[in-house]
């Protein structure tokens, strides 16, 4: 097996992932690493019940996902909700080499970096720590669209919170 994509997406498993990424990567499994969803039976059922039938979907806590990371079977897409969760996954021992920031949408207190990437200061801090840990970070909402190198954006200040626009979408 391999984890074919590690993705940060607030919406976790949704249309862009199921219809865009799964066929593009020929993935057959999605692992969602999320504490809140793992503790919420109804939310889990909502998230997983309508997934395409050919897709295996598992929901783990972050420690469970980190422990299983190296041994996950199938062609797996691993989803986390925010950069802090990804950082925690790495700190717990998951050897993540590359990660895709695919959907951090507007909420109060965020600033715009891309149309699909609004960040808080905490998000930028977590991304900086991930970059320092050697994780290759790119922003990309859908396969086929242009990738944005976030490690470079962190290095040259484009992703510094104070340099971003507070405008609402």
């Amino acid at each position: 097996m391999s984890v074919v994509l590690v993705r940060v997406d607030q919406r976790l498993l949704h249309g862009q992932v199921a219809v865009g990424w799964v066929p593009s990567l020929d993935a057959d499994r999605v692992v969602i690493a999320d504490e809140a969803l793992a503790a919420d039976a109804f939310g889990r059922e909502v998230m997983t019940s309508a997934a395409p039938p050919e897709l295996t979907v598992d929901v783990f806590t972050l420690p469970e996902a980190a422990e299983r990371f190296a041994g996950l079977s199938g062609r797996t897409i691993l989803l986390v909700r925010n950069p802090a969760a990804l950082l925690e996954l790495v700190r717990l021992g998951a050897r993540v080499q590359e990660a895709n920031i695919g959907g951090l949408h507007w909420k109060e207190g965020t600033r715009r970096f891309l149309d699909y990437m609004y960040v808080t200061p905490e998000d930028v801090t977590a991304l900086s720590e991930l970059a320092r840990s050697g994780v290759q970070l790119t922003a990309l909402d859908l396969p086929g669209n242009p990738k944005v190198d976030l490690v470079a954006a962190l290095a040259d200040g484009r992703l510094a919170f104070d340099n971003l626009s507070p405008r609402h979408p």
Binding site: Q10, R11, L13, H14, G15, A18, V19, F42, G43, V46, M47, A50, A51, P52, L104, H105, W106, K107, D115, Y118, P169
Partner: protein, 138 residues
């Protein structure tokens, strides 16, 4: 006057607005249906917007949404989890909107929902070379 079953469209991007504009073109009047797009909204923001609409419109209420496995349907289901008389119906298309507008004034809720589902399924027609799929030749 408010319709007996207040209705909200929750869709990706401009799909909801497009459906309402198309219905208006057919009916001559703008349907009394509200809409929310998920565009640019975090899951919490979308959930809050749907819950706010449900709070303002009471129960029973109907939420129509597009992809059954998408963020719109997920947030809609989460918003109605403790509202037993609120409905989420995924797979919305123009036929469903028109059937709803014809029936929501005078049908009991569950009867109307079954009717809506049947009309929506019946609206999917496939023709090959002008002939129904089952009668077309390979």
């Amino acid at each position: 006057m408010n319709p007996p079953y207040p209705t909200l469209l929750v869709t990706h991007r401009g799909y909801g607005e497009g459906l309402l504009a198309a219905a208006e073109a057919i009916l001559g009047t703008r349907p009394n249906i509200d809409r929310i797009s998920n565009e640019g909204l975090s899951p919490d923001a979308l959930l809050g917007a749907i819950e706010g609409w449900l709070d303002a419109h009471g129960s029973p209420a109907i939420v129509l949404t597009d992809l059954g496995f998408g963020s719109c349907a997920q947030s809609s289901r989460l918003a109605t989890r403790n509202r037993p008389e609120s409905v989420v119906m995924a797979g919305v298309n123009l036929a469903m909107i028109l059937a709803l507008l014809r029936s929501r004034e005078h049908e009991e809720l569950r009867t109307m929902l079954q009717h809506l589902r049947e009309r929506t399924l019946q609206s999917v027609c496939v023709y090959v070379g002008g002939q129904p799929l089952e009668e077309s030749h390979p």
